[in-house]
């Protein structure tokens, strides 16, 4: 019993240290990643957003579409 408790305590200690070490390593990896990955996408993001806005439907159209889609999917079953 006492021996088992000691073992549990040891696992508690080892486990928490390992979790922290592992996730700290991951943080380092993420910081490296951020530094070395050339971020092309960030600039291109607004462009993509714009083209999305063009095809933005009106609220009424959206309601109609949603209803139609639901009906369509409902009738499939």
């Amino acid at each position: 019993m006492n021996e088992q408790l000691n073992e549990a305590l040891a696992i508690l200690f080892t486990g928490m240290v390992t979790v922290f070490m592992f996730l700290s390593l991951l943080i380092c990896a993420m910081l490296l990643l951020r530094r070395f990955v050339v971020e092309v996408d960030v600039q291109s993001a607004p462009a993509r957003k714009k083209s999305k806005a063009v095809s933005q439907p009106t609220a009424q159209q959206l309601a109609a579409i949603t209803a139609a889609v639901h009906r369509y999917r409902g009738s499939k079953s």
Binding site: A8, M16, L33, R34
Partner: protein, 376 residues
């Protein structure tokens, strides 16, 4: 007339045991929680139904040749079902908020204290007569504190299959109860002023970072913790499929049809472990107790870690977000947001809490790997 006797003997009424009747009520209770209270219905509904089926006398669902026997044997004993669910969850996870603020990984680490403290607690409970948890049992119970269903089922199926039913039910129930369990603990360890702290907007994260991240996680795991690679590997595969942008049809299927099919089967198989002789014991009470303990400790340690980090940080950190480190995605992050809004109506913490929230998923998969390495 002998035929009537045959039929009567084939009814369950004669064969019913008390234990089976009680387990049916447990099954019904799970269905009630799933349907009326919306407690993790996707899992608790099939689990509850499976519990009812498993306890029907003479029907043999759990015997070789029975439906639940096959499902359990194919999907849980092999570990395949929880791994496929984890792949789907990976495909549904956006690591953006975590990548924008890598430090929040430490919150996901701290919250795992709930797991390891519960392991200690389970062994300590052996002092009470009636409890005789082995280290494997204790580890499987402790993983409830990971607040992550597939991880709990995977680890329990490896270390303590007999306790699988109780552990899975406890894990999903407490995940559903997060909005009730966490707020008092969060308020206990923070002042109103702390809860009102607003955080800076997150930087946008590029596509490349998101693609490379799951691979980085995989490589660190395979280097330092190979026992965690089944869970982490499938999670990262799902996430890579999501972010790669070139296999959207696979990613969509992993997130929808595949995970749905596996969820039905996984639920039934977990339910099949809710048989009277395994579930109706004082151990189950202990497991439920330890589970609540695990969630509470995990929440508290997450919040305390966040307070510690705030001391050393240039940018403001709201300590509430530490509570999301237990995972229970996305419920815990929503709870953080709600408690934050109560203290300050301008305080939108949801995205900030998503970082520690997904960090908690990684953290408990890592913890599961550690437990497998140490006691498996």
């Amino acid at each position: 007339m002998g035929r009537w006797e045959v039929l009567w003997n084939s009814t369950a009424i004669a064969a019913f045991t008390w234990g089976q009747a009680v387990m049916m009520v447990v099954g019904l209770l799970l269905l009630y929680l799933a349907i009326s209270k919306k407690f993790e219905p996707l899992l608790l509904l099939p689990i509850g139904f499976g519990a009812i089926l498993a306890n029907i006398p003479l029907a043999g669902f759990n015997d070789p040749g029975g439906l639940l026997y096959y499902i359990y044997y194919v999907g849980i004993e092999t570990g395949v079902f929880p791994l496929l669910i984890f792949m789907g969850v990976g495909a549904m996870t956006d690591f953006g908020p975590l990548l924008a603020n890598p430090r929040t990984l430490l919150l996901g680490a701290a919250a795992q204290f709930g797991i390891f403290a519960t392991l200690f607690g389970a062994i300590a409970l052996n002092g009470v007569p009636g409890f005789e948890f082995t280290l494997k049992d204790a580890s499987a119970i402790a993983i409830i504190g990971g607040a992550d269903g597939p991880t709990a089922i995977f680890l329990a199926s490896r270390l303590a299959p007999d306790l699988l039913g109780a552990i899975a039910v406890a894990a999903y129930s407490y995940m559903a109860l997060v909005p009730i369990i966490q707020p008092p603990i969060m308020k206990l360890f923070t002042t109103k002023a702390e809860r009102a702290i607003q955080m800076e907007q997150l930087r946008p994260v590029g596509r490349r970072e998101k693609i490379i991240f799951p691979l980085a996680v995989l490589f660190l795991t395979l280097l330092f913790l190979p026992t965690a690679t089944p869970l982490v590997g499938m999670f990262c595969l799902g996430n890579l499929m999501r972010e790669a942008g070139v296999v959207d049809r696979l990613s969509k299927t992993a997130q929808n049809e595949l995970i749905n099919i596996v969820t039905i089967f996984l639920g039934l198989a977990v339910g099949s472990k809710l048989s009277a002789d395994q579930f109706l014991s004082v151990q189950t009470l202990g497991i439920l107790l330890l589970g609540a303990f695990a969630f509470s400790i995990g929440t508290a340690s997450g919040v305390l870690m966040a307070k510690l980090m705030a001391k050393f940080s240039k940018s403001p950190i709201n300590p509430l977000i530490g509570a999301a480190g237990v995972s229970a995605v996305p419920m815990a992050a929503r709870v953080v947001n709600k408690v934050g809004l109560e203290a300050n109506p301008q305080n939108f913490l949801l995205m900030h809490a998503m970082g520690p929230n997904v960090a908690g998923v990684l953290g408990s998969a890592v913890a599961a790997g550690i437990l497998l390495a140490l006691v498996g």
